[in-house]
Structure formats: structure tokens, C-alpha cells
Symmetry: C2
Subunit: 235 residues, 2 copies
DNA sequence: CTTCCATGATTGAGTTCCGATCGGTGACGA
DNA sequence: TCGTCACCGATCGGAACTCAATCATGGAAG
């Protein structure tokens, strides 16, 4: 089983997203068209100001059509987020196939690269960072572990343990969860003032994550010839 | 000049927050009462679902009063965020007075402690992490540096350079900006599933920031017997 | 110290606008 | 050709927001 396969499967939808599953073909196009419109509108006016009318108009549909598929305004945003997550996962998979990572770090780096790519090409991707996550239960792995795991941390944990022998368990999940939060925060900060993404923040995100990973699992790490500060295994 | 003084002054309000500055005393109470109500409502129903009617009722005021002070619904949220920032700054000042930090790291650690305290005691503090920051320009220091600096990073930069000799400049600002993002992200994650704050995330946030700081400015020191990277008074 | 009143503060019914519905119409596919 | 799917948009309910009337305050005048 290839690492990238992990990122290509379907994940269970958390809660009913759409009211009606599309049957005919045109409706599938409508559905994604609505989300496309929502994505653009989000970029244009922000979350607070988005209205269903805007989405409908932008999608060339009527109000009723929006409500045929989504129960309310926020459900549209949730769906947008879900789709963004799905697409991000696919992009990670693609990136992994492309880069063929030989280490755990390179694998994680693929996830970072994919994240940056998404920010640059996917309208409305900011929703990943800014949406109110409280009310967006994500598919969690094992609450019994005393930690709810986001989709990315969960998938990476499986990939890294199976492929590169990192010991699977609460510790790995926790650390990946921390990594995901840190990387997402710094990267998003890089896109806050610069739509193309401030390269300094992007580079720093990579470096920070590399150091963090090395601190727990790695020895020394070379990158571009420059000596990167590395953390020794604590304890 | 004490370090904590830096965190006690007033900062310029970014954009007109309130329509009318309160003159009489009772109105000041009303204003903060409205924000108190908003904070509670935010915690209860989330951002999307908050209504001006809820805020008014919870504050024991009428709808009209809300609109006397705030131009619209989102303005209330913005004001709530501004106040949270103000209170956080005061709390950092208090924490610094209390802990009397001897190193740059200890100073930053005060900011972390204050952040955790705020999460625990200040209703609606989540707004710091979840609000759409795009439309909330914060008082920036010097856009000419090629980097917009958040209030915290800016203040910390001044404090750390003046008190502990860290070289002031774009690099320091950038690194503090990164630190702020990382710490806020990990800490907020710790409060996502646990209202009291998951201690593992809090501890990890401290550790990560300490390591990051040490990576640029520090050597190693001892703390609590365990080898924890700590920053010496630089220079 | 009391009265008085200009002005700040508050109210809540009313207006506008947006979120959401639903019955009617058109389009697909079998 | 008919049953079902998809779409529309007038319409309703409720939330955002206004404003003219009313109340409260605190300082000035006596």
C-alpha cells in the first residue's frame, strides 16, 4: 500500500451536509457550482457578510436552489470547508506521488507544499483557518485516546507509522496535531497580508516543523547545506 | 521604564468602533455591559448564530441601545475583540509585574500564561482565534518594514530589545510574529476540546516557543532539574 | 440645597432586508 | 409519455436596523 493511497479514500461525512443527494447529472454540476460561487464570495466579502442571495446570483441559480441542497446559510460554509478538506487531501496525495518522499519529514513537507498550493489556487481556502471550528465536528479517530484527532493528523499518523516506523500511539497523534496547528497558523499568517503567500513565513513554517519533528524523532537534519537548528530527543 | 509599562498604555483604536463616545457614566457601564452580554452569547451560540436581539436581551437593554453604540452586528464582535485584546495586554502587564521575569524567555512565558488565564476567565475570548482577522486591521507598527506587525509581537519586540538586548529590527519582529501565531494556535487547540485547557497542549506550547527562541537567541539552561532550553540575557 | 432644563441615554414599534419555504413549472430519463 | 428530479421566485417570518418620543442625568441658576 502506497502512502498516497491513504489520502485518496473517502472519509465519512460528518453529519448530513446536503439535504438531497444529486441524482441527475446536471445537479452535481449545480452543487459544485454553488460551492464555487460561495468560495468566491467568501474571498470577496468575508464570512460575516456572505448572504445566500450572493451565492445564488453568483452561481446563476435562484435562492430556492441553494436551499434545495443546503439547510441554511452556515451549512453552505460547512460544505465549502468539507470540500476544501477533500481537495486538500487529494492534493497531498498527488504531491506525495510526485515527490516520492523518502523520509517522514519529506512526507510532512508534501503536506505543507500542498497546503500552500491550495491557498494559491483554491478560492475560499481561508475558510480552513478562519471558520469557527467549534461547530464543525471533524471525523475523529479515537476519542478514547483522550485526544480528538483532526483528519490530517490522523492520516499522517497512519502513513508515518506504517511507512517510516514511527511508533503509532497517542504521542504521535498529539505531536502531529501540534504540528498541524503550528504549520497552519504560520502559513495562514503568510497569506494574510500577501495573497501569493509571504515566502518568509512559508519557509519558516517548513523549518519550524522540521525542527519539531527532528526534536522527537530525528537526529541531525541537513537542508540546503545550511545547518538547521535541531532539537535533541528530550527526557 | 519597566517592561510591564509597555503593555499598559492605550493603543490607537483602529477605525471607529463606537458611533458615540459615552459621556455620562451610566453609558460607559451600558457599553461594557453590552460587550459582556455579547461575550456570553458568543460562548453560548457561536459567532454565526449570534443576534443583536440576544445581546440586547442578555444585557437588559433594548435593541435601540445596541445600535446607538455599534453600527451593525459585526461591529459588536469587532469591539468585543478589541476589548479582549486590551484586557489581554493588561493581564500581560500584571503577569510581568508578578513574575518579574529575568530573561527574555520568562517575559514571553508571561504572555503565554496571561493568554491561558484569559481563556479561562474571559468569556468570549475564543474570538481572538476564530474571528475573521482579514477584516480586522490591528494597530500595525511599520508596514514599511515589509511586515505588518500585530500588537503583541510589536510590544514584545520593544520590550525584549530594550530590556534584554535582543537586536531590534525586522528579524525580531518577524520571529515574534511567528511565535505569536504558533503559540496562539497550539494554545487555542488546547481549549478546543477542553474548556479548562488541555495541559498537554499548554505545556507543549511553552516548550515549542522556548525552543524556537533558543534556536535564534539562546543557549541552554537548567530549569526544574529537567534540561529545558532557556534564553539567557542576550548580548 | 433645591429647582430646572439642556442634553445624553433609552426605548420599542416600525421599516427594510435577508434567510428560508413551498407550490408550481420545466427538464430529464426510462 | 409519464414519474420523478430539478428549478424557480413570489412569499413569509424573522432579524437587522431606524427614529421619534420619552426618560434620566448632572450641572447651572437661584
Amino acid at each position: 500500500m502506497s502512502v498516497s493511497d491513504l489520502f485518496e479514500g473517502d472519509i465519512v461525512e460528518a453529519g448530513a451536509q446536503v439535504r438531497i443527494e444529486p441524482i441527475q447529472q446536471r445537479s452535481t454540476a449545480r452543487l459544485s457550482g454553488l460551492l464555487d460561487a460561495a468560495a468566491v464570495v467568501v474571498d470577496e466579502v468575508g464570512f460575516d457578510r456572505i448572504t445566500t442571495a450572493m451565492v445564488a446570483e453568483r452561481a446563476g441559480a435562484s435562492i430556492g436552489t441553494v436551499y434545495r441542497y443546503y439547510p441554511d446559510r452556515v451549512a453552505v460554509l460547512h460544505a465549502l470547508r468539507e470540500r476544501a478538506i477533500q481537495r486538500y487531501r487529494l492534493r497531498v496525495a498527488r504531491e506525495i506521488k510526485l515527490a516520492d518522499p523518502k523520509t517522514a519529514w519529506e512526507t510532512i513537507d508534501c503536506a505543507i507544499t500542498a497546503f500552500v498550493e491550495m491557498y494559491r489556487t483554491e478560492p475560499g481556502f481561508r475558510i480552513m483557518h478562519f471558520a469557527d471550528r467549534e461547530r464543525l465536528p471533524i471525523s475523529s479517530a479515537s476519542p478514547a485516546d483522550g485526544i480528538e484527532v483532526g483528519f490530517l493528523a490522523g492520516q499522517l499518523a497512519i502513513a508515518l507509522s506504517e511507512r517510516f516506523g514511527l511508533p503509532y500511539g497517542p504521542d504521535l497523534l498529539f505531536r502531529l496535531e501540534v504540528m498541524v496547528e503550528m504549520a497552519a497558523a504560520v502559513l495562514s499568517r503568510g497569506f494574510q497580508s500577501n495573497v501569493l503567500g509571504d515566502e518568509r513565513y512559508i519557509a519558516e513554517a517548513r523549518r519550524v516543523i522540521a525542527v519539531y519533528l527532528a526534536g522527537y524523532y530525528g537526529e541531525e537534519l541537513e537542508q540546503d547545506g545550511a545547518a538547521v537548528p535541531v532539537l535533541e530527543s528530550a527526557e
